[in-house]
Structure formats: C-alpha cells, structure tokens
C-alpha cells in the first residue's frame, strides 16, 4: 500500500474543518517554519525533495522558487486553481476536502520566497469553492495563522482569492496573471518570465494546487519520506484523474511510476462492460493518443516514461477510450474544445482551431471525403511549432496522433 500525501481527507473525515485539520497536526509545520526556519533553507529542502510541478509541465518546484531575484520587491505567490483541462478534477477534490493542507503549502511557499501577499486564482466555475475559501481565509486570520507580524516575528502574510470567469487559457500562468490584473486572459510574451516580472510586474511564483499541497508533507515528514514514493526523477505521489470508459472513474493518489495497467485495471477496475481498451489520453484533451498496447499498459506513469510513448504525463488526467469509441468523434470533441478556448491572440491557433473544427465536424457528420483527413493533418502540421503559447500546440496533439494511429476510424466516417 502506498502512502497518501494529498488525499488525506479520505482517511481523516472532516479534514476540511479547521478544527479537524489542526487536531491532526495542521499548521504546526507552518508555525515551525515561520518561527524557526530560514526561507533559503526551506527552498533547499523543496529542491532536495525533487518535487516537480503538478500543473502539467513538471518543472522542479524548488528551482522555480529560487529564481526570484532578491533585489526586486515585493514578491508574490499565486496558486493556480484554474483546473480546466478536460479530464482533470484533482485540484477540485483537494480544494473541497483537504483545503487547509493546500493553504498551508501556499503559506509556506509564500514564506519561502518572502511574499507578503499571495493570491489563489480559481476558475470561474469554482464559485462555491471560492466563497468557502474566503471564509476559510477569514478563519485563518481570526485564528492568527495569517496576518500581520506572525507569531511574534516580523513576517506578515495576507491571502487573497480571485475568481476567474470561464476561460481555459487562464490556467496558463501568464494569462492567469493578466486575468488577475483585470485584462483579457491572453498569454504574455516571454521573457520577461514571471519569476522576474510576474504579477503587477513583480517577481512571482506560480504553482499548481496539488504541487503546493505536497509542501507541508515534505517539510513535516522530511525529504526521505517524500522520496520513498515515486521514482528517482519523479519522486512522490501523484493524483491520477481517471475518466472515460472505465468502471470506476475517480481520483487515485498513487506513486509516480505506477503503470497504466495498475491504474486502469487495478484501481479503475477495468473497462466498462469489459470491452476492449483502445487508447489512453494521459494528459486530458491536450494529450496525444496512446494506442493501448500491452507495452503501453506496462509503462510507468512518470515524467520520463510517458514521453517515450510519444505523449506527456501533463496533469495526469487519464482518459480511457475503448473499442466503442470512434477516434474521429473523440478528435472532433477535443478540437471543438480548443476552438472554444483559443484566446485569439495568435493567428495559427485562432484560425487553425476554427478551421480544424470545421473539418472534424464535417468528418463526423459524414459530409467529408478522404482528402479532408489529409487536410486536417496538414492544417495541424501548419500550426505545429508556430503558435504563441502551448494551447495551440496542445490542440493538434489529438488530431495528429489520431490520424497517425487510428486513420481507419476517420476513413470509416468519411466513407459512410
């Protein structure tokens, strides 16, 4: 049995009550850190833990914190609670059921980079969660866990909640910053990177909710304990969001490096109606499609192994497709998602997703002909490597891999 770092509420009922959380050792790490630890030491511990960002890119968290220049102030920490990738629903569970552990992580990271104001950016659909967080933050202030001159030190911290209003791209960190600042959520040009000029043009750390929720565990139980899970290069556990054609969809916190097979057939209890599995999308709608070969099923899910299958682990939103699904239909759905969510800033993404969606729509409606499949591929290829941000690049993963690996599904639709 693997350790549980993140979904601890499943073992401790009522963990989303401050009372219960503190009764179970909550915020002790936080108080300890502020009272006795040097910010630089905390950063070093996080570096040593090998924790990598859970928001998608897998960037080493400690290294990210260390980038902030110490001659530009103030610093900000922004928690990315935009969770919008189709197939991802892990942050939501943390936010609803284990919120204080996440907040404690956010507070520790703020202390580590000496930020005095930190922001949580919720996707607009999380309006209820956002409201509860406003209450929780008030509660923390009342209890003296945050506020001015904490625990007799000179350190002050204030937390602020920001509610988005419906835009997937605001999960991209620079678009998120634009959105907080009251602008269209469109990605920024880089450089400058947020570490140097982020929120309000000041040095900013942006971390995913799940990433931050690891922090109290790392600090309280130590690097070795954390590293006891996962692989050397991808240490720790990860919440895998399992959805699609499985019997038991849901969040599963497992060590990084767990195989697809264990997730799908062990925890997910196999395919609906015991049908044949067809393909896996390990990173939501942004994934390349992995044909579900035996070898693929035996691949460990970590930041190194999944790329070998031509895909990315991303935020580990594992969508399962079985033999009842025509890949052209699937691709039509992902392409429509990206068309709907393209911010419109750059030409290839704005026009390309629009164009692709028309082609896939015609294909699924049986109004297309064979050359349209090549046209779809060609349009996607024309976008490849040319977009302003990753959204455009994500949008072509399913179409390109779909046509490459499951061309017959497309042909079946056009020949009808």
């Amino acid at each position: 049995m693997s350790e549980i770092f993140l979904l601890r509420h499943r073992e401790i009922p009522g963990l989303n009550q401050l009372r219960t959380y503190t009764a179970n050792g909550g915020f002790e790490t936080w108080m300890q850190a502020v009272k006795t630890q040097k910010p630089a030491d905390i950063i070093q511990i996080v570096k040593d833990s090998g924790l990598r960002g859970r928001g998608g890119a897998g960037f080493p968290t400690g290294m990210k914190w260390a980038f902030l220049p110490n001659n530009i102030w103030p610093h900000y920490v922004v928690a990315n609670a935009d969770e919008s990738e189709p197939g991802t629903f892990k942050d939501r569970e943390i936010l609803e059921l284990n919120p204080f552990q996440f907040l404690e992580g956010l507070m520790i990271s703020s202390f580590a980079v000496q930020a005095h104001d930190s922001y949580i950016y919720f996707r607009g659909e999380f309006a209820e969660i956002y409201r509860k967080f406003e209450d929780r933050i008030r509660e923390l202030e009342e209890k003296g866990f945050i506020g001015e001159k904490l625990f007799g030190t000179d350190y002050s911290l204030h937390l602020h909640c920001v509610l988005g209003a419906g835009a997937y791209i605001c999960g991209e960190e620079t678009a998120l910053l634009e959105s907080i600042e009251g602008r269209l959520g469109q990605p920024r040009l880089r450089p400058p990177f947020p570490a140097v000029a982020g929120l309000f043009e000041k040095p900013t750390v942006i971390n995913n909710v799940e990433t931050l929720t690891n922090i109290p565990i790392i600090l309280s139980k130590g690097v070795a304990y954390f590293r006891s899970q996962g692989t050397d290069k991808s240490p720790g556990t990860k919440i895998f969001c399992l959805s699609g054609r499985v019997k038991k969809p849901g969040n599963y916190e497992l060590p990084l490096g767990t195989t697809f097979r264990e997730l799908i057939y062990g925890h997910g209890e196999g395919i609906l109606n015991d049908a044949q599995i067809k393909a896996i999308m390990p990173a939501g709608a942004s994934s390349s499609l992995i044909p579900a070969t035996e070898q693929a099923l035996d691949t460990p899910m970590d930041y190194e192994s999944v790329p070998a299958l031509g895909a990315q682990l991303g935020s580990a939103s594992v969508i399962i497709l079985d033999e009842t699904i025509n890949i052209a239909d699937l691709v039509n759905s992902t392409v429509h998602f990206f068309m709907h969510e393209s911010c419109g800033k750059c030409t290839p993404c704005r026009e390309g997703t629009y164009w692709m969606s028309h082609i896939t729509q015609r294909i699924v409606e049986g109004k297309a002909s064979k050359p349209d499949i090549d046209l779809l591929k060609s349009v996607a290829t024309q976008m490849q490597g040319n977009c302003f941000c990753a959204l455009g690049e994500f949008s072509i993963m399913a179409p390109l891999s779909g046509i490459e690996k499951f061309r017959a599904d497309f042909e079946a639709r056009v020949e009808k």
Binding site: E83, S84, E85, P86, G87, T88, F89, D91, R92, R123, G124, E125, F126, A127, E128, H160, V162, L163, G164, A165, G166, A167, Y168, S179, I180, E181, G182, R183, L184, G185, F200, C241, L242, S243, G244, R245, P249, G250, N251, M281, G284, A285, S317, I319, L321, I325, D329, L330, S333, T334, F337, H340, E341
Partner: protein, 170 residues
C-alpha cells in the same frame, strides 16, 4: 457614488482593498461578478459603473465582459442550466442526457424556456469527469455543480427551483 457602490458598498470596498493602490484595474473581474448577482447579466449601465470605480474606459470593461464565458451581456433565463458535453462526459453519454433534457424542457441548447426561467447551455469541462452526467447551474453570480445526474433528477430539481423562484417573484 454610482449605483453599484450604492447597492454593495461593503463588497465594492472589500474588492478594491485586495489590490495595490495603482492596480485597481484588477478589480474589474470581481466587480463584474458582483454586477451579475441580481440581473444575471451585465448591462451597459453596470459596465459604466465598473469603469468608473476602476477608472478604466468602459470599452476596456466591456472587452473583459465579452472575453469570459461566464459573463453574459444580455438577459436569459433566470437559471442557466449548463451541461458539460466535453471529452470525458461525451464518452459517458452526456449527449443523450442533454438530448433528454432538451426534450423535457422543450427547448434546444442555447434557447430559453417560454416562461423565461431556464436557459439550456452546453459547456466545456467543469472538472467533474468522474461523476457524469453533470451540469452546472448559474443563477445570478452563484454557480453550483450537480453530479451523477439523470434527466429525471435534473428536471425534478428544476421544478422545485422554479417553484421557489416563482414564489419569490410573487
């Protein structure tokens, strides 16, 4: 003091307090949420109020209202019934669920019932892919998730909601 400040003095003040003095523009999105609380949409008048409070041009405010999908620039049904039909939901029968709702309500997605109570909409992934079918209700500035639905369950819920909304109205 404009009408938004008059109506929600505390909310406006607390929103403004969140941001540095020279960054009041950041208050636009929270204030737009606030303006949706009553009417369920953002009128030009409301945009003007927000522009005034944040000292931005009304065009900048309108631009933001137009960008985000949860902001609406015209009135629709009191309850926006937003069914997720995105990838993971599609794989588990969201389309059929939507079709049943559509039949049950007698409207197509994008339309509003004749009594002006319900607008049926399709939305992208709402982070509930393990409890399909799922819809989200947007009423004023409140958004709630409703998971593990059947069309019957949803229609029942709607009936009770409609009754209470009508009750309030009279």
């Amino acid at each position: 003091m404009n009408s938004l400040e008059k109506k929600y003095p505390d909310e406006v003040a607390s929103i403004l307090a969140r941001y540095p003095e020279d960054q009041k523009r950041a208050a636009i999105i929270p204030l737009l949420h606030l303006t949706q609380r009553d009417a369920g949409f953002i009128s030009i008048h409301a945009m003007n109020d927000v522009a005034e409070i944040t000292r931005q041009s009304i065009t900048d405010v309108a631009s933001i209202a137009g960008y985000y999908t949860l902001f609406h620039d015209h009135p629709e049904g009191k309850i926006r019934l937003q069914v997720c039909t995105d990838v993971a939901c599609m794989l588990r029968g969201a389309q059929e669920y939507l079709a049943e709702l559509s039949r049950g309500l007698g409207i197509q997605p994008g339309e509003t019932t004749a009594d002006g109570l319900v607008t049926l909409e399709e939305v992208k992934c709402v982070a509930a892919c393990d409890h399909v079918p799922v819809f989200q209700s947007q009423i004023g500035d409140a958004i709630e998730f409703h998971e593990n639905q059947t069309s019957q369950k949803t229609l029942d819920w709607l009936r009770s909601m409609s009754a209470s909304i009508k009750g309030e109205g009279s």
